[in-house]
Symmetry: C2
Subunit: 336 residues, 2 copies
Amino acid sequence: MRIALDAMGGDHGPTPNVGGARLALDANPDLTVVLVGDETQLAPLLAAGNLPAGRVEVIHASQTVEMKEKPAEALRRKPDASVFRSWQLLAEGKVDGLVSAGNTGAVVAGGLKTRKFLKCVHRPGIATVMPTAKGRCVVLDVGANVFPKPRHLLEYGAMGTVFARHILGVERPTLGLMNVGEEEGKGHDLVQKTYDLFRNSPLKERFVGNIEGRDIHRGAVDVVVTDGFTGNVVLKLCEGVFDFVMGMVQQEVIAPLPNDRGVAAQALKGLVGKYHYSAFGGAPLLGVEGVCIICHGSSKDAAIANALGVAALDVRVKLNEKIVAELEALPANGEE
Amino acid sequence: MRIALDAMGGDHGPTPNVGGARLALDANPDLTVVLVGDETQLAPLLAAGNLPAGRVEVIHASQTVEMKEKPAEALRRKPDASVFRSWQLLAEGKVDGLVSAGNTGAVVAGGLKTRKFLKCVHRPGIATVMPTAKGRCVVLDVGANVFPKPRHLLEYGAMGTVFARHILGVERPTLGLMNVGEEEGKGHDLVQKTYDLFRNSPLKERFVGNIEGRDIHRGAVDVVVTDGFTGNVVLKLCEGVFDFVMGMVQQEVIAPLPNDRGVAAQALKGLVGKYHYSAFGGAPLLGVEGVCIICHGSSKDAAIANALGVAALDVRVKLNEKIVAELEALPANGEE
């Protein structure tokens, strides 16, 4: 299979993208990586990186969307940006998927612009995998759709269920709606209407009802459905709390140890690596034709390689076919 | 000063409330606690607890709102519930404040029903104090108002600023609006309109603009303004991530230590205590006449005592007078 990599995307420019491509090619024998970006910058990195020639291609893109650039402006002013060229390759069927550590808004905007959504999908959503006390769960949407309609959230539930089953390996995933309390009738209009949609859909057997913020890491459910505003705050808050607590543990627990400071610091480093976002292979934009994986802007080689690996897996298991089958089972609903 | 304590509120019934009252009376010589609840249950606890007779009163309330009860139903069916009786005492001026570890929705509903809001306040909001890498910050609203108007958020910014200055001791508090990105124009309609309100208000000098989830624990600002839906998810998510990470540290870092396991476990316990919600003295419902502090349902003696201490402090520093002065400086705005 062929995956486009937005080689200019991310805080660190093309270097970790090329490094990540090399790692991913080693790990996935069926993979070809199409590096999209400035070929004059990429050529020396490719030469130095010793990448397998037959499994890497370069498609030149003369522009780059900056991390802080407004997506709508970028779309207008930079048609030849590496991220939009990657989407174009996907829309033309020249690749099976794309990976980008660039400006998340621009990645999503590029996808929305192609309008190539899966059958039955009204709005794509970004899913992210989070660690829990019982394993892993998938949370969506974490930022593509900050003011969704109930129907969108129902579709996110269906897509998340398919993702949990085929990517996380949970045979019978359970599903919860993020809310401010467990009882029916809690929260604002959006969650109340969404609750009713789930209760009256074929997903009702997986739907445990409302969950609260503390339930995510307890592993209360396999799929957490929320609007893109709340989900984005959740995603970034977890990162902040994790960094904060790890810093405090280092400072107040490990630093004062009389004998085991070294071994404890090493174990803490292992823990940070295990639960760091980079270990979870990026966030898929679910609901588009083809596969799109969005990486954290600060991704290094390993995170890019994990994301390419997840993109390859999504293609391999035919995730999109399964999503369409799940969505076709939902009741038709005029409300977009 | 006189503070009413909803003696029946919380997961553990009256015992930690009476215990907390005793601790708070020891720590605050100017405090009288009015225990509101079932006098037949309270009498033996008071006798056994050896509370200073002249500084404790009991007001009988024949009903108790259960933790899972729907607030609107409770208001209708249980007029003599301890939490509503506490509000009544406050509305009648018989106490200066109230503390409850009971059903949060019922506490808020009781306050909304009295309609005794401070001058210039359209909707009260719940504030909570969170630890950060630089000290502490206040986040509001965390659940009183799940679908606010921009004007409400502006008022929360003003109230949070006063709280940060007079309770957290920050001379020149900074203020941020929770959003999905830092750039102006990010997010949904509510945050975009709120952003403009802040930029065009006397608070503009304190307003740093949009912040993201990860900024809270970095200590990017002293006051975080958000809607009650997002804020409630934030509050409970922090609890969940904290518990999850502490569990992992115990299991993967501390348990395998060859020599220092005991001392490390002790230090971790200290850290948990320091950053546990119970150390932060409950969450004030800001914007009502008098003082109202809402405690976590699982509060034990120390958490109740801290909340009573914070209530006493709010009265002592005349927090409400200062809130009204700050709100009077805001531009009048027809929008409720």
